[in-house]
Structures are given as structure tokens and as C-alpha cells.
């Protein structure tokens, strides 16, 4: 993963682009495991405590990976890059957040529509979690595409 984050072609990545790659890779790995287990019949898809236990474990592992990775990337980045985001970084971040907002909005509407038809809150919680993960992925992917292809703000 470090290799991917450091040498993505001949494109020179700044600190924030590298952290966006870190977020994408960590999130895809962590929540592929989570939702993969749910689809394979893990009790976390039906019962509260298995869900909390599995989600807690995955979330902690994800958070530790991102924190450790960010610390490593921060230590290796030139001081000028990690000082603060410049106007291009902020414009790209706004674009990612705007796109992610619509994904989250639609996801929450689907959860709301589904709400009257289920008795347990566990499937709803998992659907909500999926919407959040999808929105965050869209955010990170839009940020990465904007750094790579350019974005005029």
C-alpha cells in the first residue's frame, strides 16, 4: 500500500493526495471485510451484539490504520506541504464533500423508505453504515480524480 501511495505513476502527489489514497485503500479493505461477512451470513447482519462487536473491531482497525498511515505520511512530507491546505486543496475538498453529500442524502432516503418494513434495527443500521461508507468513498475518489485530472474550483 505504501508503494502505491508513494509512486502512483509519474504524477507527483502532495501530502493530502497521499492521505486520500490512504483513506480509500483502508476503507475499501476494512468495509469489504465487514460487508463481505454480512453477505456470507455472519450474525452481525441480524443481531445487535454481533453487529456491534464486528463493526467495533472493523472501525477500530480502520481508524488505527488511517492514524498510523497519516503519521508516517506526515513525517515523510516536506514541512511546507503539511502546514495547511492551500486554495487548490480546499477547492478539491469542497468538490468531494459536495458529491458525497448527495450520495449520503440518497442513502438516508433509502433507509427512511425501508424503515417501516423492518422490525429489527440491525439491517437499517447496516444500510445506514453502507450509505456512509459509500459517501466517504465517493468523497475520496472525487478528491483523487480532481488531483489527478485537475479541477478549477
Amino acid at each position: 500500500m505504501a508503494l502505491l501511495i508513494t509512486y502512483a505513476g509519474d504524477h507527483q502527489m502532495n501530502f493530502r493526495e497521499k492521505t486520500a489514497w490512504l483513506n480509500v485503500v483502508a476503507m475499501v479493505v476494512a468495509y469489504s471485510v465487514y460487508f463481505g461477512l454480512l453477505l456470507s451470513g455472519h450474525p452481525a447482519g441480524r443481531e445487535v451484539f454481533p453487529m456491534l462487536w464486528l463493526f467495533g473491531s472493523i472501525a477500530v482497525a480502520h481508524a488505527v490504520t488511517v492514524i498510523v498511515g497519516t503519521v508516517i505520511l506526515s513525517a515523510r512530507a516536506p514541512k511546507s506541504e503539511r502546514a495547511r491546505a492551500d486554495e487548490r486543496d480546499r477547492a478539491i475538498r469542497r468538490r468531494g464533500a459536495t458529491m458525497a453529500y448527495y450520495v449520503l442524502l440518497v442513502g438516508m432516503m433509502v433507509v427512511g423508505v425501508y424503515l417501516p418494513f423492518v422490525e429489527s434495527g440491525v439491517p437499517l443500521a447496516n444500510m445506514g453504515l453502507f450509505a456512509i461508507v459509500a459517501a466517504e468513498l465517493v468523497n475520496s475518489v472525487v478528491v483523487l480524480m480532481s488531483y489527478r485530472r485537475g479541477w478549477h474550483g
Binding site: S80, E87, R149, H152
Partner: protein
């Protein structure tokens, strides 16, 4: 990503200014080296403030650094 309807001579002006690096220019303007590279490649349109700051670093008027492309009008 469509290119903006203007081009710039930042790369040439850096060369004429003692082969100033993108990092040096970025430090003086208040943006990262990658942002200067993106501006040079037409992948990012700087704000008016950053455009003026770049022009001031080279001691040139804005329209010497950035030129409107009539073909892209």
C-alpha cells in the same frame, strides 16, 4: 478536464528568474509546489489573489503572466 480559456508563461518566467523552482515560487506565493505545477499545466485556475501574487513575484503585470486564449472564448 477542460483546460481554462487562458494560458500562462510561469514556466518561462521561472526560468528567466534564475531557474526558480516550483517549490520556491509556491513558498513565496503561499501554495504548494504541486499547485504551481497544476497551474503551469492548466489543471488548476488560481484565484485572482494567487494570480496577482505570482505576477508580483516576477515583477510583471498580470497579463504578462496570464494570457486570455481567444480561441477558447
Amino acid at each position: 478536464m477542460a483546460k481554462p480559456p487562458f494560458s500562462n508563461d510561469i514556466r518561462t518566467l521561472r526560468f528567466l528568474a534564475g531557474e526558480m523552482t516550483q517549490g520556491d515560487l509556491g513558498d513565496r506565493v503561499g501554495v504548494t509546489r504541486q499547485t504551481i505545477a497544476a497551474i503551469e499545466q492548466g489543471k488548476y485556475s488560481p484565484s485572482l489573489e494567487v494570480a496577482f501574487r505570482i505576477a508580483r513575484v516576477f515583477g510583471k503585470p498580470l497579463e504578462t503572466v496570464f494570457q486570455w486564449d481567444d480561441a477558447g472564448d
